[in-house]
C-alpha cells in the first residue's frame, strides 16, 4: 500500500499544507488583516521619509520592504515557531512518529501558508504603490523572479533550521522568534538600504537571505539608484544560490540533531516548557 520515500514525503507536504489552505478559506477574516496591517507600518515609515523630504526612491524601498516582511513573518511565525504550538496541542508527536522527513512537515506548512503570504505581499506592494504614488521601473522580470525564487528557498531553508530549535526548547525558542523580528528588520534593511549599516555589518547581515534578496529586488526596480546598492545583482544572486544549498543542508542536519537531543533529554514532546 505505501509508496516510495519521495511519494510519501510529497503526500506529507500536501497533507500538512491542507489545513493551512482550508483554514484560509474557512476563516477569511485574515484577509482584511493581512492586507491592512502591513500597510500601516509601510504608511508610517513612508510618512517619515515624506516629512523629512527624502528622495522618492526611499518610499519605494519602504513599500518593497514592507511587502517582503510577509515572507519573513511567515518563516518565523507560521513555520519555525509553529512547531511550538504543534507541540502544545499534541500534534508534534504524531508528526514525529510518522515515517516522513521533518522537512516535509515544515515544507507543508510553508506551502500551505504561501497563499496568505503572497496575497499579503502583493497587496502591500500594489496598495503602497498606489497610495504613495511610487514609480517602479522593472525591466528584467525574469531576473526578478529568479532572485525572488532563490531568496525564498534560502529563507525557508533557514526557517527550517530555526524550527529545529523548537524540537528541544519551548517558550525559550518562541521568545527567540519574538526577539528576531525587529533585529532582522534592522539588519536586513527592510526599510532603508542595507548599505547604510556599513560594509561589515551589511556583510554579516547578508547571511540572512532576505537581506541580499531585498537589495537585489530594489536594484531591479530602481536600476539608476546604484548608490544605494550593496553589491551587484549577479554577486548577490550567486551568494543567494550558495545560501540555498547551505541552509537546506544545515536544516536537515539541525533537525536530525535537535530531534535526537530532544529524544535523549525527554523534551521532544514535553509541553509547557
Amino acid at each position: 500500500m505505501s509508496d516510495g520515500w519521495i511519494k510519501r514525503n510529497v503526500r506529507a507536504i500536501r497533507g500538512r499544507a491542507y489545513p493551512r489552505v482550508i483554514g484560509s478559506t474557512r476563516e477569511p477574516s485574515w484577509m482584511f488583516f493581512d492586507v491592512a496591517l502591513p500597510l500601516l507600518t509601510v504608511a508610517a515609515y513612508a510618512y517619515i521619509y515624506k516629512f523629512m523630504n527624502a528622495q522618492a526612491q526611499y518610499i519605494g524601498y519602504v513599500v518593497i520592504g514592507g511587502a517582503m516582511t510577509a515572507f519573513w513573518l511567515n518563516v518565523l511565525w507560521s513555520m519555525a515557531s509553529q512547531l511550538y504550538w504543534e507541540k502544545e496541542i499534541g500534534n508534534l508527536q504524531l508528526y514525529l512518529m510518522a515515517p516522513i522527513s521533518r522537512m516535509s512537515i515544515l515544507a507543508g506548512m510553508a506551502v500551505g501558508g504561501l497563499f496568505e503570504t503572497t496575497l499579503r505581499a502583493v497587496s502591500t506592494l500594489v496598495i503602497g504603490v498606489v497610495l504613495f504614488s511610487v514609480a517602479l521601473n522593472l525591466s528584467h522580470p525574469l531576473m526578478l523572479f529568479g532572485i525572488f525564487f532563490l531568496t525564498m528557498v534560502a529563507l525557508y531553508g533557514m526557517g527550517m533550521m530555526f524550527a529545529s530549535l523548537y524540537l528541544l526548547f519551548g517558550r525559550e525558542a518562541y521568545h527567540m522568534s519574538n526577539l528576531m523580528t525587529e533585529p532582522v528588520y534592522l539588519a536586513s534593511g527592510f526599510y532603508f538600504p542595507v548599505k547604510q549599516l556599513g560594509f561589515w555589518a551589511a556583510t554579516g547581515a547578508s547571511l540572512i537571505p532576505i537581506t541580499l534578496g531585498l537589495d537585489a529586488i530594489r536594484q531591479l526596480f530602481y536600476p539608476t539608484k546604484t548608490q544605494d546598492a550593496f553589491l551587484p545583482i549577479a554577486t548577490e544572486a550567486l551568494i543567494l544560490l550558495a545560501l540555498c544549498v547551505v541552509f537546506l543542508i544545515l536544516a536537515k542536519y539541525s533537525l536530525d540533531y535537535m530531534e535526537r537531543l530532544g529524544k535523549t533529554s525527554g523534551r521532544l514532546t514535553l509541553r509547557w516548557q
Binding site: P19, A98, P99
Partner: protein, 327 residues
C-alpha cells in the same frame, strides 16, 4: 506467532535528569525492563500513575531514547532503524487533543493518513469504513472543534487504525468514553488482532476489567519495574486467595450441617428476622462444595433468594503486587 517478536526490550532503562539542580532529583522512569511481546498478541500493561507506562510507550514509538538498554519493534532497533519502525506502528493516547479544530473529522483523518503514504482514495475508503464502525459517520463532515470529548477520542482511535499498522500502541484509549463507546472500541481492537495477520496491540489501561477481558497477557509495572508478566488467569493464580460464596436464603433454622460441608474453610451467617432472610457466607477451599451447600440449604426447606461467587480479580493481583490500588 513468528520468531521475531513484535516488541522486545532488554534491560531498558530511562532516567530523567532535571534541567537544574533546584528542580529536584533525577527520576528513574524505567528500570531494566525486559519485555517480549509476540506478533498477534493483545498485550496489556497495567500500573499506577507514574509507573512508567507512558515512558515505555514513548520509547517504543520512537519519541524518546532510552538511557540504556535496547528496544526492538518489529525486529528493528529503535535507535538505529527508527524510520522502519515508524512505518509499522501507530499510537493513540487517551485524552488526546491533537488535530485541527477547523478541519472536519474526515479531513483530519485524511491529513494524518498522508503522512503514512496512503493513497487518498484508499485512505478515504478506510476512513469512512472505520467511522461507520465507530458510530461517527454522521460526524464525518463536522468540524473537529464541535465534537464532544468522547467523539473526539473515537476519532483519535480511528486515526490509529486508519494507517493499518503492524503494531498499535494504545495508551488508555477508552479514557473518558461511555460504556457503549468503550465496548465498540474494545470489540474492534479484539477483531483487529484476531482477524488481522500478525497484528499486535500494546494496551495500557487503568480498567482492570478491560485488561482482563481483552488481553492475552498482562504485565504489571510499578516504579519502572515489571513486577509480573503472564496471562490473566495465571496472574490470578499467583494470588492465593480463596473463593467466597455468598447466599441469601429464606430464614434457615438449622445451620449446623453447613459448616461441616467438605471444601468449606469458614462459614458465617446473619439472621435478618425482619426480612425473613439468612445471610450465609462461605470461604471455600474447593469449588465443588457449592453444590453440596445448595443441596443442604434446599434440603432444610429453605429457598435461595440470591447466590454470588467471588474469585480473585486482577485488582486483587494488582493490589498484592503493587501494594496499593489505582490512585
Amino acid at each position: 506467532m513468528g520468531d521475531t517478536p513484535a516488541v522486545e526490550t532488554k534491560a531498558l532503562t530511562r532516567v530523567f535528569q532535571p534541567k537544574k539542580k533546584k528542580e529536584g532529583k533525577s527520576v528513574t522512569a524505567l528500570d531494566r525492563v525486559d519485555l517480549r511481546i509476540e506478533k498477534g498478541e493483545l498485550f496489556g500493561l497495567l500500573g499506577p500513575n507514574g509507573a512508567g507506562k507512558t515512558t515505555l510507550l514513548k520509547i517504543l514509538s520512537t519519541l524518546l531514547l532510552p538511557t540504556s538498554g535496547k528496544a526492538y519493534v518489529a525486529g528493528f532497533d529503535l535507535e538505529k532503524d527508527f524510520v522502519e519502525v515508524r512505518r509499522r506502528i501507530n499510537m493513540v493516547s487517551g485524552g488526546e487533543i491533537s488535530g485541527y479544530g477547523l478541519l472536519t473529522v474526515r479531513e483530519n483523518l485524511w491529513m494524518f493518513s498522508q503522512f503514512y503514504g496512503i493513497k487518498s482514495k484508499d485512505a478515504k475508503e478506510r476512513i469512512d469504513s472505520l467511522l461507520d464502525k465507530f458510530g461517527l459517520s454522521d460526524k464525518r463532515d463536522e468540524k473537529v472543534r464541535t465534537l464532544s470529548t468522547g467523539q473526539r477520542q473515537k476519532m483519535n482511535v480511528v486515526r490509529g487504525f486508519v494507517t493499518d499498522p503492524d503494531i498499535l500502541f494504545l495508551d488508555e484509549p477508552t479514557l473518558g468514553l461511555d460504556v457503549n463507546a468503550s465496548r465498540v472500541i474494545r470489540d474492534h481492537i479484539v477483531d483487529w488482532v484476531d482477524n488481522g495477520k500478525d497484528k499486535t496491540v500494546l494496551l495500557t489501561t487503568h480498567y482492570m476489567a478491560e485488561a482482563d477481558q481483552l488481553c492475552n497477557r498482562i504485565a504489571i509495572i510499578d516504579e519502572g519495574k515489571i513486577l509480573a508478566c503472564n496471562t490473566p488467569e495465571n496472574l490470578k493464580k499467583m494470588v492465593r486467595m480463596n473463593k467466597t460464596l455468598t447466599l441469601d436464603v429464606t430464614l434457615l433454622a438449622d445451620k449446623s450441617v453447613l459448616g461441616a460441608v467438605k471444601g468449606v474453610d469458614k462459614f458465617t451467617y446473619v439472621d435478618d428476622a425482619e426480612k425473613n432472610l439468612t445471610h450465609l457466607k462461605f470461604v471455600l477451599t474447593d469449588e465443588s462444595a457449592v453444590s453440596d451447600i445448595v443441596s443442604d440449604v434446599l434440603g432444610n426447606g429453605s429457598k435461595i433468594v440470591s447466590l454470588q461467587k467471588t474469585e480473585p480479580t486482577l485488582e486483587d493481583v494488582f493490589i498484592k503486587m503493587v501494594g496499593k490500588g489505582f490512585e
